[in-house]
Symmetry: D2
Amino acid sequence: MATILIVAISDHGSTTAMADAIAKGVRSTGGEAIRRTADEVDADGGSPLCHCDGLILGSPVHMAAPDWRLKRFIDQETSPLWQKDALVGKVGGVFCSGAGYGGGGGGGELAMLSMLADLAELGMILVPLPKNTPGFAQAGLHWGPYGRAHAEDMSPKGLTEAELETSYHHGANIARLAERIAHPGQVVFANAS
Amino acid sequence: MATILIVAISDHGSTTAMADAIAKGVRSTGGEAIRRTADEVDADGGSPLCHCDGLILGSPVHMAAPDWRLKRFIDQETSPLWQKDALVGKVGGVFCSGAGYGGGGGGGELAMLSMLADLAELGMILVPLPKNTPGFAQAGLHWGPYGRAHAEDMSPKGLTEAELETSYHHGANIARLAERIAHPGQVVFANAS
Amino acid sequence: MATILIVAISDHGSTTAMADAIAKGVRSTGGEAIRRTADEVDADGGSPLCHCDGLILGSPVHMAAPDWRLKRFIDQETSPLWQKDALVGKVGGVFCSGAGYGGGGGGGELAMLSMLADLAELGMILVPLPKNTPGFAQAGLHWGPYGRAHAEDMSPKGLTEAELETSYHHGANIARLAERIAHPGQVVFANAS
Amino acid sequence: MATILIVAISDHGSTTAMADAIAKGVRSTGGEAIRRTADEVDADGGSPLCHCDGLILGSPVHMAAPDWRLKRFIDQETSPLWQKDALVGKVGGVFCSGAGYGGGGGGGELAMLSMLADLAELGMILVPLPKNTPGFAQAGLHWGPYGRAHAEDMSPKGLTEAELETSYHHGANIARLAERIAHPGQVVFANAS
């Protein structure tokens, strides 16, 4: 049974709603989903950050990048694990919500890439969002689910069922993959030994 | 009077229509717009590529990057000018069209960044698309106009007036800036002399 | 036994040398490595592109993006497989060689991201380069091995042992992961059924 | 006389040293350089953020993105100006310092792109680092100066003269361009009026 830690921050609830859907998807596979806000997780030895099989990061898009509180978590809590190679070979994924002014996505792509870059630095295997995922047409970007809680003209529209369905399947995909990679025995990556 | 070279490639006419609108915008400022497909421009001494005040690159988005024919132009024709620092301090901009499967933009952002990276390597000043540009809500990404000729579910919808209007203003912005920078006397950038 | 297809293009042999090292790494795990240049692989039913467990793309960095011949392969051969969701859930990775003018990497990061974006669009699981990989200090970027065949001032230096060693381990990592994911039975990703 | 605001954050002094060199470059052109840390500038009406002709952002690279304190500045202070289109058509640029583990740049490119994305969202004209800038071979990336205060194996080496020289010229380039664009009369960009 894979344990997936979901670390997110939310302004008005959209990112939280997506994280809820992702957690449901994780549990649908028999996995355990642990939820933390970016403010309440640390890198201490007992933290789920050190013991999870997979890590999912989520944030609203602010000025084409993740919210600063998510970045503070990255700097303060994931950097020490990068030093120790503690998450190498585990599974990671990302998601975003956003107003996304303009039909071109409002910077969601670079925001997701910024979080994926952290996971890549940690040595984690990255799970994309395949285009045959239910709901992709509305919620999808190949890097992960993107819940656009506002229309392209910034009028509020709320998240749709499609956007939550895509999130659910993203969580399930990541949990299935983490389960396969962790058992029996973590896949061995190259190391200096 | 600024001379702006627009180099684009088109599959089904959307990129061409955007290039037409950009050229109109250039001319609306009194500038000269020169149009070339990516197949028909070279870096010979007499080429407009060597004598323009500004360069605008446009392409459909294919697999989250510009069309390979636009990339061939970049490799074969702009690389020699990079060697010679021939375009340093001139003005550049980009635009894309695309099917853009999914509400997240379908990779348009990374496609534009790929073209902007070429212009940055050439030492060119990059013109974004300000959010108060008419039509931005529909056609805009801050890196440049993005004409989504298909809906997020990939059903064809054609370019809208908003998408062409945004393109027009992008051309006008670039021409006005190029005019200012080129006269009287090109702004001097640092060099080894 | 995982079958890994390596598709690359080379100017002066550096990318080929890295592909050789990657293939050795694949074989060191008991996997099968198939080598193709970007010019000689297609998406026909019998192609290794349709039957591999993992796909690795490699290119020199030209103007901060992959060589146009690699992009032509992406547009012409991977796009049809994107349509059919043929590679969803398989394993992917990338590598680059380059002159890389300047101490900041010369655009290798965006070049790797452009290839990773193609793999993500195909729905493939992305394998990064963990920092504890032997040779990382010299050859590493977290997105994949980066063989800098020239020094930061563009003087030729050739690939080092470290750069080939890193490539070897990248191939081994990808083969081990592909083996785990493919057997027993491919990990099931969400689909519309 | 152009007024250039430099907003940076520093861990151990490298970013500060680069900001000092940039400020010197600004002043070498007759421009005014205003220095602020990311913690001490706001978007109030009297702030230099609202009255500058150009804005330069600098940060150490942490996990392939700017430091979280620089991101907090972006979210809290530049977002309100984005709402008001207050910086449209002004001039912007970026720089980074970093340990940069690995010969591939350690994520400096995506870190610079993240800051450039903020400036692009604000509608600012982006100034790259031309390859003929003195010091480019050591300090350069086309997006801006990158001072690598540690060697590729993370051993401390300190900033070199070349890295500071490149920074100086980046500041001078931006000041010269801002001066040209601001006088006589700011170049007019398209707007809804």
